[in-house]
Amino acid sequence: MPAQIIETNTHPVSRVEVDPITLDIVENALRNARAEMDAVLFRTAMSPGIREQHDAFPMIANQEGKMVVGQFGSFLYGFINGYDGTIEDGDIFITNDPYSCNGAVSHLNDWLLMMPIFHDGRLVSWSAMFGHMTDVGGKVPGSLPTDAKMIYEEGLIIPPTKIYRKGELADDVFNIMLANSRVPEWNKSDFLAIIASLRLAERRVRENIERFGVDTYISAMWDMLDRNKQAMGAIIQMIIPDGEHKAHFEDWIDDDGMGAGPYKIACTLWREGDKAIFDFEGSDPQSLSSINFLLNEEMFKMFFGAFTINLFDPQILFNDGFYELVDVRIPEGSILKPKKPAALSCRTHMLGRIFDLMGGLLGQGAPDALNAAGFSDSPHFMYSGYGKDGEWYQLFQIGFGGIPGRPAGDGADGHSLWPAFTNVPNEFLEAYFPLRIREYATIADSGGAGLHRGGNGITIAYEMLEPGEISIHDDRWLTYPWGVNGGEPGMRSTKTLVRVDGSRENIPAKCDRVHVEPGDMLYFNTWGGGGWGDPFERDPELVALDVRRGLVTREGAKRYGVVIGRDNQVEKKETKKLRAQMSERRGEKLLFDRGFTSIDELKKRSKVETGFEPPADPVFSRFREAAE
């Protein structure tokens, strides 16, 4: 039963003609409002996750819940239709339960707040935002246990709840939420910061209505939605293949942290009339561990749109308008649509991998616009324990890696694929945590060779100063970030722990609570981006410059068929010869170079190349049956 919207003013809004310029002005005003929402949040939030790494996402939607400005929107429509209760002026709703909002948020750490905006007794808009809370309870600090088998191990579940009722905070509920966190002050401040942002959006919406009139404002939002629909309609015609030439692509998460893997996601893409169809049939069933990613169909549409429209009009206010032009089909019980109570906390790898998948899928029809595989993840490093004074310390850090080679140029070294994310300065880490960062540098040759080089990964050398425990959530240690159009794959990730006694051990990509002692050194090496285009066509002088800059080694230059002398200059004759040889040996350029021919073949090389036994094939039968 859909929610009951209580409006004291029943006069209907009428759709009026909005001239194109007024439309652009409303668009600008909403863009400014959104920027202000961000600014208010980042200034007031207390947790480093939101304050420093900006892990929070605002939006403004029309009265039906269609996102008009924002990034991770698109969930309100489902909420309005699924909420059994009233929606009134002054109400604000909260949830963190992926299963009761169809994956609008995808793990319990994300608190999603939604506020209806009323004007003159009528519902006129929505504002919403979700932010990553540092800790929401559960079995481990940070609430991200790799080995969780059920969502109940991952923290307090909040079903859709009125946290403000006609403007009044529901203290009793709020207190329960805070009482379940290891860092209640941070959650409280982050929560209030989000509320402040939502209220700011409310003020801006009301100002716009006073400025333009309610009919024009609401009609302008419809027009903006239509404008996206038209633009995306044209893009779909341009880049989505028809039913005769379906595109298909697959990628993998290497393991589930419990010894099984890789887990495949597969997608087939085609167009029927003006509609694009993304069919995830062929994706593996859900995992026993917490790497499942409950993917909201609407959110995937948004990923698709945001990803493509950038190329055509980067200034457009991206919105939900085109959703009916896209059909997303995800099989029940698959790793992208797991059944409750599957654990979800470590969905970050799959969330990232979706972008590689989409790139590979969309680019097949237009190789010139195809990007290589990039740093499609937010790997975590966690370090906690009791310091000298017996005080608890708890660090949560996200790693960065190689942006892939792209049609636009080389990939940046050690950067973020996610908008707004920034790294935490090492001097800050050393001042506040029992750590020394002995090295923070790009890894030469880790970016895939190509006409446009893949960005290098980063090596971070953490020296532990106190006894404690480290946890790592990482991926791409087995499969490679692939290259395209003749470009080579980037280097995999590795983690090595050098004990204070000099012994070395490889650390698996996903592990929790590894004990460390003072003097132990962890080398956390992230992966590079894939290369784009034929490396033998890269200007040898650029390769030489990269060598002089320490980004490519002399040996690594040979991947480009370039011979660099001891003086770090190009050996022209030798280069010509080598390129001719290598080019002949290679033959046809590969559209995709994955660095392996099949998963079986890859698994056979695992022990030799990575030092780890290959993961076992995942056991799926129970979930398949359950889904059928």
Partner: protein, 741 residues
């Protein structure tokens, strides 16, 4: 975590105290006040000495891209003179000297009568913008050579922004970066001593690679600069003549990327700025004898010439700071203390907020995509100006304006210099706001036909009439600029309705009326000679001094009397230094700044109080003010504990009374200034309008909109249903009709 923060703050405060001691030792050396002026160090002072002019003559000089503006203040006789000469980009000091010659001739004085030259310069900014700085070598700690390459890992744009983003090259190239084998920990203790022999070898390689400036930025050097100092000594021997900038001197603050970037930018602009300032100083001395040259810093303070040469990173916003200072001075004379400044030029627009006569500052300066940690007036820049190009993307049929700009060449189509893209200026021409009869800079003509042709492109693409398209372009650029005004006002918790808007720069007076309407900030003030405002600012900057101390402690654990004593000590210190520069105690204004936050927060807010208020209200009152501020800014206050972060006493020299030009007194009728009638398009229709000559407008005149007021270097638009009133000091105050305050 809180304890860790406290521990860190304590270390920082110890460090700042050390720096302060160091500064005192160095103060005798005229070439080293850089660190004392650029750091927010405890109990250091940011005073720049100013000799009292014997003949009472102060000269303000602002070098812009096109013109060099000068303003001569004869304080004793209450006279001002202004002059405008073409800038000489190949060597701007030539333009400055030309201007000085001209203004002295006008004022009929000898050049040697000028005792002080205050100069706002964009030399540093332009060096960054045009990428024409020095080849910089960089020394980092072993393991950190990629600090600039990795930066903060941030990729601009939204989801998928990385698809089209190409990172710009670091200002110190990796091939010119070497690592020193050394290590200092976060407490400032040496873990690994400096390997001097290896460093010498690497420095020799750097020398042979042709670097022109050197930055040394070692890890944790904010806590201990000893290794940086040692490297500087070695570098001076191996690289004689190459200027060395140390991160522990330029900006001893935590965060290795920001500190390195800031110091590298300092090195990058240093040779250019040094050469310029040195030349200028020598030329001035040869013509004027014992003249003092001061350079306006980004934070609105004044810097001695030698400090400017050592720390040019503090000059990146020198130009805009002059505009803000000028706006402040003009508006104060008109009786306005709360102002939004709106400086619209050809390619960009700068806005800032002045509250109660004080410009807001921040600890960061941005120029293009370069961000440095240097204090500056909080000027926000948007890429929107008269030259911004309008276009309609094929796919979305939206109207976009900027950030691409036609620049000075080819410029807007209407300037007939070969440009054919539709710009904001062209739209203004089509709408009649820039009449073809008006002159720009005296000699630039306007061709309406070319403007029509260019704007037609947009009209055709949108399928709307020409005027509608032109008005759309203007509306959209106004909305973009409005976004910047919101950033400095609403977003900081200020209500624009409490402010007046002052419009200047080449295009500001054309758009000020509309902007004031968008954010409801009245009146829109158009100062006389909006183009020379920066020079006013340069010449009239007030002496200001402050003393500060970092104290991090929960409020509840502090003894109020002790805090009061500390503040009083700081006040005496700041006041004494100012008095030594000739500003007597009776001519000083004092206020306290108390930095606070909720325990656990990363930000801090500054509570301003007079000494009397603080004595009366104590710490509890300060906390109440903090809560109110927090609520104003963020819509909520917390019941968390309060934490004191720092104390500051600010002492300013009182302003000198100044008698300006007499703008006459006349009735409300502005008829005497009428030039001719014209037509303008506004709000979807054409109006008959009148063009006025600004030079003939007198105090008390009312100019009914729609009207256009022209003067030598600027054109003002008064919209329909608005009225411009000439005030006592010659400003045009634009109000909505019937609301004249």
């Amino acid at each position: 975590m809180d304890d860790l923060i406290r521990l860190y703050e304590k270390r920082l405060s110890d460090l700042e105290a050390r720096i302060s001691e160091l500064d005192k030792d160095l103060r005798g050396d005229t070439r080293s006040p850089a660190s004392s002026t650029s750091t927010a160090a405890a109990t250091t002072t940011a005073l720049t000495p100013v000799r009292q002019a014997s003949a009472g003559l102060r000269l303000g000089v602002d070098v812009g891209g096109t013109f060099t503006d000068l303003l001569l203040l004869d304080e004793k006789n209450g006279r001002t003179f202004t002059a405008k000469v073409p800038s000489t980009p190949e060597d701007s000091s030539i333009g400055v000297l030309n201007g000085i010659e001209k203004i002295c001739r006008q004022a009929d004085i000898a050049q040697s009568d000028i005792a002080e030259v205050m100069h706002g310069t964009t030399v540093a900014t332009n060096t960054v913008l045009t990428g024409s700085g020095a080849t910089v070598g960089l020394v980092t700690t072993k393991g950190y050579r990629d600090t600039l390459q990795i930066a903060r890992s941030y990729v601009p744009g939204g989801l998928g922004g990385w698809v089209i983003w190409n990172k710009s090259e670091p200002l110190a190239a990796l091939e010119h970066t070497i690592e020193a084998d050394e290590r200092i920990d976060a407490q400032g203790d040496v873990l690994v001593p400096l390997d001097e022999a290896a460093l010498e070898t690497d420095l020799k390689k750097l020398r042979d690679s042709g670097i022109e400036a050197l930055t040394v930025s070692l890890f944790n050097a904010y806590a201990n600069g000893a290794h940086e100092q040692r490297i500087a000594e070695i570098a001076r021997r191996i690289l004689p003549g190459i200027p060395v900038s140390l991160s522990s001197e330029v900006i001893p603050e935590m965060y290795e990327y920001e500190r390195t970037e800031t110091t590298v930018v300092n090195s990058y602009v240093r040779p250019v700025v040094s050469k310029y300032v040195d030349n200028l100083q020598n030329e001035l001395k040869s013509k004027m004898g014992d003249v003092k040259l001061h350079i306006l810093r980004s934070d609105g303070g004044l810097s001695s010439a030698s400090a400017a040469m050592d720390s040019p990173v503090n000059l990146l916003m020198s130009g805009p700071a002059g505009g803000v200072a000028g706006a402040l001075w003009i508006a104060k004379r008109a009786g306005h203390k709360n102002l939004l400044t709106f400086d619209m030029g050809g390619t960009s627009t700068d806005v800032a907020l002045i509250e109660n006569g004080v410009a807001q500052t921040r600890r960061e300066t941005r120029v293009a995509d370069v961000t440095v940690r240097a204090p500056s007036i909080d000027v926000r820049t948007v890429g929107a100006g008269g030259g911004s190009i309008a276009y309609v993307p094929e796919l979305t049929k939206a109207l976009r304006v900027g950030p691409q700009s036609a620049g000075a060449t080819p410029g807007p189509a209407a300037y007939a210099k070969g440009g054919d893209e539709p710009t904001v200026t062209d739209a203004n021409v089509v709408l009649g706001y820039l009449p073809a009869t008006s002159k720009l800079g005296g000699d630039m003509t306007i061709d309406r036909d070319l403007a029509v042709k260019a704007v037609s492109k947009v009209a055709d693409a949108l399928g709307v009439p020409l005027e509608k398209a032109a008005e759309g372009i203007v509306d959209i650029v106004n909305e973009n600029m409005c976004g910047a005004l919101r950033l400095v006002s609403v977003e900081q918790g200020y209500d624009p309705r409490d402010f007046a808007l002052i419009g200047f720069g080449g295009a500001g007076p054309l758009h000020a009326n509309a902007l004031a309407g968008l954010i409801n900030a009245w009146p829109a003030i158009i100062p006389p000679g909006p183009g020379v405002l920066c020079a006013y600012g340069d010449a009239t900057t007030r002496l200001r001094n402050e003393a500060s101390q970092t104290i991090v402690s929960p409020l509840a654990e502090l003894e109020p009397a002790e805090v009061n004593r500390t503040l009083h000590t700081l006040e005496q210190k700041a006041a004494a230094d100012l008095a030594a520069e000739g500003v007597g105690q009776d001519k000083q204004d004092v206020f306290y700044q108390i930095d606070m936050r909720y325990t656990g927060q990363g930000m801090k807010l500054t509570v301003d109080m007079t000494p009397e208020e603080f004595t009366r209200e104590g710490l509890e009152g300060t906390a109440r003010r903090f809560d109110a501020m927090h609520e104003k800014l963020f819509t909520f206050a917390l019941d968390a504990g309060h934490e004191l972060v720092g104390l500051r006493a600010v002492v300013q020299g009182a302003e000198k009374p100044f008698v300006g030009k007499d703008y006459g007194h006349a009735g409300t009728d502005a008829g005497a200034a009428r030039v001719q009638t014209t037509q303008i398009y506004s709000g979807g229709q054409w109006y008959d309008a009148v063009i006025y000559d600004r030079a003939k407008l007198q105090t008390g005149n009312r100019v009914e909109g729609p009207a256009i007021v022209v003067e030598m270097d600027s054109t003002t638009l008064i919209q329909p249903a608005h009225v411009g009133v000439i005030d006592e000091v010659g400003n045009i105050l634009i109000w909505p009709e019937g609301q004249e305050g």
